[in-house]
């Protein structure tokens, strides 16, 4: 699903493609939520309805061999890079064919083959890892860029600070993207920071420009991330982009999210990234029925995925003992 910067165009075909990708992510997430409620998924699941424009817009400016790395709320990032949805869904259900062989689950979806080097479940921990990916690009004289996604809550953990500082000092080709959805688990980010914008207002502490964008506007995301990626590729160092958005659901499927007022949620939904793109497409002349058809097709796709995943067998317990050491075994002693 990636395309390189030089083909970055804001024509209708592109917008349609972005719309379709976002629509797919939304339907996929809704399906996961349903499966969770049916009790057929395994473990917690953190969904991203409302935040799709960030994953899709950012991935759209990448080259095939660029890296992305994100959090437990990472399904959209994996899929936007091209990870096979069937394998992702099987992982969520704990079935054979799961993308991490049943060992990672929802919070650790990874598809190295597609440049998505993983979902990390400890807040902030992957930011230093992103530095390492980008550090390798420098040493290898490679043009590979690393995109690192994290939430607003991550800006207060030590690893964020260490990573931003190192990236800036070493002028690493990494773009840090803060998905500011206004909340940590149940607590508003505004309650725990002494600045207004969690990421942008901290950029200057690392010698970086403050960048804050509308994270629900996929075109704005493409533009801002595109510029940052170009800079990184050109050797001009890292950027920190704050993309303001909202999560429509709870923190995870287990959370009703009722610490937010209904009016707040309703207001946020008026700025649904899907709606925004759809409105733009319609006013550019695309018909509602064409967009409805896209949606219907994707609904069928997602339903087929679910049917396939639910038909897959559960794991053979003995496979717990593989993938541990580089020799394939799990033996630490003779």
């Amino acid at each position: 699903m990636s395309q390189s910067q030089d083909t970055l165009a804001t024509d209708i075909a592109t917008d349609l493609q972005l719309f379709e990708q976002m629509q797919f992510l939304r339907l996929f997430a809704d399906k996961v939520d349903t499966l969770y409620r049916q009790g057929v998924t395994r473990g917690p699941a953190h969904l991203g309805q409302g935040q799709e424009a960030i994953a899709v817009g950012a991935a759209s400016v990448l080259r095939r061999d660029d890296w992305s790395i994100a959090t437990y709320r990472g399904h959209a990032h994996a899929l936007s890079r091209g990870a096979p949805a069937a394998a992702v869904l099987k992982e969520l259900l704990g079935r054979v064919g799961g993308i991490c062989a049943g060992k990672g689950g929802s919070m650790h979806i990874t598809s190295v083959e597609h440049g998505y080097v993983g979902s990390y479940a400890i807040v902030g921990a992957h930011l230093p890892v992103a530095c390492g990916l980008a550090w390798a690009s420098r040493i290898q004289r490679s043009e590979r860029v690393t995109l690192c996604f994290f939430g607003d809550g991550a800006v207060n953990i030590g690893a964020f600070h260490e990573a931003l500082n190192l990236a800036a000092v070493w002028a690493l080709p990494v773009v840090f993207i803060c998905e500011n959805n206004g909340y940590m688990e149940y607590t508003p980010i505004a309650d725990v920071i002494p600045v207004r914008r969690p990421a942008a207002d901290r950029a200057p502490a690392y010698g970086l420009e403050p960048i804050a964008i509308d994270g629900n506007d996929v075109t704005a995301v493409r533009a801002a991330v595109g510029t940052a990626v170009d800079r990184a590729r050109a050797g001009a160092g890292p950027s920190l982009v704050e993309a303001v958005t909202y999560r429509f659901g709870g923190h995870s499927c287990a959370d009703p999210g009722d610490y937010r007022s209904p009016s707040e949620v309703t207001a946020a939904k008026a700025r649904d990234p899907l709606l925004l793109t759809r409105t733009a497409l319609v006013s550019a002349g695309v018909s509602d029925s064409e967009l409805d058809a896209v949606r219907a097709r994707l609904e069928a796709d997602v339903q087929a995925l679910a049917t396939e995943a639910l038909a897959a067998p559960v794991h053979d317990p003995v496979t717990a003992w593989s993938d541990m050491w580089s020799d394939g075994s799990a033996s630490w002693r003779n």
Binding site: G43, E91, K103, G104, A121, I122, G153, I157
Partner: protein
């Protein structure tokens, strides 16, 4: 008499101690709204903003704040949401909190508690399922509490809060929903005394937290096969009731240690080492451990089960131990 869940035992003990001593203050992430595991429900409403503090996602700041406040005369109870996150503040816990009193020649006292969700079994994956009592046991200076039932949860947490040393309380995720009838008495169970959950003659099962239930279940099965099993709940690893442990093993002559920690270096190894040194002469069979696998915990149900201790594995281990070619101490006159 009302039933109390293990989950509510946490908030009950916190409420009891907060009412008793106004120096007790809570600090952690999302605790005002009741906590991610609902273990701090109602406390903010009851005790207000000066007693219950929501923090940024800053585990080092949480533990540092608890430590500094304890130095200044408060008795903080810090929540680390999942024990796995101890890794993000391990320097504060292992290098500062654990060592402050000793390094200063006794000038600093740290009456503080750190509590949070521990253990596996719910498909939370490798970074949210670890059972980490062993990390703490590697560090002299930390007391370690890991309750197996609601009554102990309430009583040991209260005792931990009243203690003048730093205490880590491990609340097992898989036990949160278990419940028990408790009287209207004050919650208080002294640290450092093991509990004999079941008396038996043939073999001692040494257990902690979630493995206590597994051992009791195994014992029931084994009883049907004529094997009379004793189950000892250590309750706290530091202080350790080594006396009760050794007394039991000396009596039965056999021990199976059942731990959720990875066997590579779990608390069970520490227990095995003590028995092998101090009760050796009374042992009639090899010391066996049933441990967590030496892998990160996988998520898929069948895989996670494979990597954790279970009543079935305990039964099998006991059968092995009972079948072992017996050994008896060589009588002094013969040696």
């Amino acid at each position: 008499m009302a039933k109390l869940t293990y989950r509510d035992a946490v908030s009950a003990a916190l409420a009891q101690e907060m009412a008793r001593d106004e120096r007790v203050v809570l600090i952690g992430e999302d605790i005002r709204s009741g906590g991610v595991f609902k273990t701090t429900r109602t406390l903010f409403d009851t005790f207000g903003p000066d007693r219950v503090w929501d923090t940024p996602i800053s585990e080092e700041a949480i533990i540092g704040a608890a430590m500094g406040a304890a130095m200044a005369g408060l008795r903080p109870v810090a929540e680390i949401m999942f024990a796995d996150f101890y890794a993000t503040c391990w320097d504060l816990v292992a290098n500062e909190v654990a060592k402050a009193r000793y390094m200063t020649g006794g000038q600093i006292s740290l009456p503080l508690v750190i509590r949070g969700a521990n253990g596996g079994g719910l498909g939370f994956g490798a970074q949210h399922s670890q059972s980490l009592e062993n990390w703490a046991m590697c560090v002299p200076g930390l007391k370690i509490v890991a309750p197996s039932c609601a009554a102990d949860m309430a009583g040991l947490l209260a005792a931990a809060i009243r203690d003048d040393d730093p205490v880590l309380v491990f609340e097992h995720k898989a036990l949160l929903g278990t419940s028990e009838e408790l009287g209207e008495v004050e919650h208080l169970v002294p640290m450092g005394s093991a509990r004999t959950v079941r008396v038996g003659r043939d073999v001692t099962l040494v257990a902690l937290a979630v493995t206590v239930g597994m051992c009791v279940q195994a014992a029931d099965e084994l009883a049907a096969a004529g094997i009379d099993v004793e189950v000892l709940d250590l309750r706290t690893l530091v202080p350790l009731d080594a006396r009760a442990l050794l007394e039991s093993v000396r009596r039965t002559g056999r021990a199976v240690i059942v731990e959720e920690n990875p066997g590579q270096l779990g608390w069970g190894a520490g227990i095995a080492a003590i028995i092998a040194e101090e009760a050796f002469d009374d042992l009639v069979a090899p010391l066996v451990r049933v441990s967590g696998g030496n892998i990160p915990l996988p998520v898929a149900r069948e895989l996670e089960q494979e990597a954790r201790p279970s009543p079935q594995r305990v039964v099998a281990a006991v059968q092995d131990v009972m079948a072992a070619r017996g050994r008896r101490p060589v009588a002094p006159s013969l040696s």
